[in-house]
Amino acid sequence: MSVQNVRYAFNSSMRVLGKGIWRDLVNIRRYKLRLIGWLMNMMIGLGAAYIFGVILNFNPITTSQTGILSTQVFVFFAGGIALSTFSDTALWAPMGRVQQDIHYGTLEAVFVTPTSRIAYLLSPTISDSILNLLFFIPAYIVVLGVHGSLTDGYVLGTTMLIVLLTIISMIAFGLFFAMLAILVRRIQPVAIFLSNIFQFICGAFVPVQAFIGLNQTGGTILKYIAQLFPYTYCYDLFRYYMFGDVYTTLFPVWLEYVLLVVSSFLFVGLAFLLLKRVENKAKDSGLAIL
């Protein structure tokens, strides 16, 4: 492939991506109720975090494993809820797009034109994460305010960096999941399952370090499973910068950054492999599989 072709392919992909994001953002303006639903979800989530924070305390195992105080439940929980909305976007946005296109019969059009499929599937995840950011920011400010670090530039900068990294890793996982959504028609139950798993196993509500409180062997196995997903490192690093040096991370901080990047790349690689399978299957069995 010549340099000119690569440039042409890149420009075309960017155009598909830009148009896709634009389409989604225009669409959401027309369906204002969805935005209200989003806002209510976040408010109920924060309310629930507050109630959890007062009614529950971390037990001695959790405090000894993580170094945080037994009463710091709200900051821990609300941070997890805010950040978990991004992992949910990765699951629901591409799946929603694929299902909508199957419903309207437009998915075939995407597959018979020379447009970039990856760019096309990337667009709903990006547009949803832009919108998500709008709702994340107020929640993020509340969490920082309660924790008393609203004016701490270091905490602000580092936690925002983690939010950015979460969005990037989420996009990587979203691509992988979109491919899976095309390959397996009834993916919804899996999406619900993964959504729960991301929240419980990756550390949104409970520190992964404290899983041994459940059972020594079972907790250790769950800990290893959690380490496969990039979100685990996102949550852990977010907490590290939020609580400071008292917080004991799963791995040394530099290693968590490395693992976060590696696992994100891994999911992009898997997405490309799945795309090949999807296209081969479409060629073999016809577009009816879509």
């Binding site: 971390f58 139950p189 619900i192 399952f193 409180g213």
Partner: protein
């Protein structure tokens, strides 16, 4: 004639739904996966958290009872979709297929039609409730205690009936307002956090005296609260402090179930009037 006819509509509706559920295996896979992730999630929470000491004095439980507390909520929560998602999905599906108009122009009973979808969902929910229920009984150490088994099954049955009753009410709302999904989704979340599914209503007073008292009275207006509270009373035994005396909770639960059914019946009148005035396009 009318009772016979209504029964036939209900029976056929339930039969149709059961057939549909059987055809969509993904639905069952989803339910199983959801239950697995839920139990795992609660176990993880139970291993990392304790109830705060202030809350413990108000509910009478021990610190390590958190996992069992959440599980007792989860088994009753299995029935909440009867009230929320089942009627909504039916109405939305019928609007989508264009079959809702047919229901409204034939002399078939609309109430029976909406009841059937909730009953079908109730049967399915009950099937998934059983394994979770056995696990909870085992955790409570009451698997062989016939009195506990009998009383908790009775509460589960009451929970099913009260949810069916609230379900008809939500079904009516779904016909009245096209965008009812948001309202119902919010209600579903509120049930989880405010009506005592996973956190004790008794503990809200620890948050704030006024808020706690207000929340207690608000939640007392819904049958869900009593379902959770009574289930815990029988699972934990006398040490659990209920919101109201147990006999009163039974009486209010029964009254509320009947009240919601009457509400739904009354709501049907403006729905039909609106349909007559503006044409069936409102559906």
């Amino acid at each position: 004639m009318s009772i016979q006819h209504s029964t036939r509509v209900i029976f056929k509706g339930v039969w149709r739904d059961m057939k549909t559920y059987m055809r969509y295996r993904a639905f069952f896979t989803g339910m199983i996966l959801e239950i697995i992730s839920l139990v795992l999630g609660f176990a993880i929470i139970g291993g990392a958290y304790y109830f705060s000491p202030d809350v413990l004095t108000r509910i009478g439980l021990a610190e390590e009872d958190l996992f069992l507390f959440m599980m007792t909520g989860a088994i009753i929560q299995m029935f909440s979709s009867i009230a929320t998602w089942a009627p909504l999905n039916r109405i939305e599906e019928d609007i989508h297929y264009g079959t809702l108009e047919a229901v409204f122009v034939t002399p078939s009973t609309r109430l029976g039609y909406l009841l059937s979808t909730s009953i079908a969902r109730g049967i399915i929910s009950f099937a998934f409730f059983i394994p979770l229920y056995i696990l909870t009984l085992w955790l409570a150490g009451a698997l062989t205690n016939l009195a506990v088994v009998g009383f908790t099954l009775m509460v589960a049955l009451l929970a099913m009936i009260s949810n069916i009753s609230v379900g008809i009410y939500f079904g009516m709302l779904a016909i009245m307002y096209r965008q009812a999904r948001l309202l119902i989704s919010t209600t579903h979340q509120l049930i989880q956090f405010l009506f005592g599914a996973f956190l004790p209503v008794q503990g809200f007073i620890v948050l704030h005296e006024g808020f706690g008292t207000a929340m207690k009275y608000i939640t007392l207006a819904f049958p869900f609260t009593y379902n959770f509270d009574l289930m815990r009373h029988f699972m934990f035994g006398d040490k659990f402090i209920t919101l109201l005396p147990v006999w009163q909770e039974f009486v209010i639960l029964g009254s509320l179930t009947i009240l919601y059914f009457i509400f739904a019946r009354l709501l049907l009148i403006p729905v039909e009037r609106k349909a007559k005035k503006q044409g069936l396009a409102i559906l």
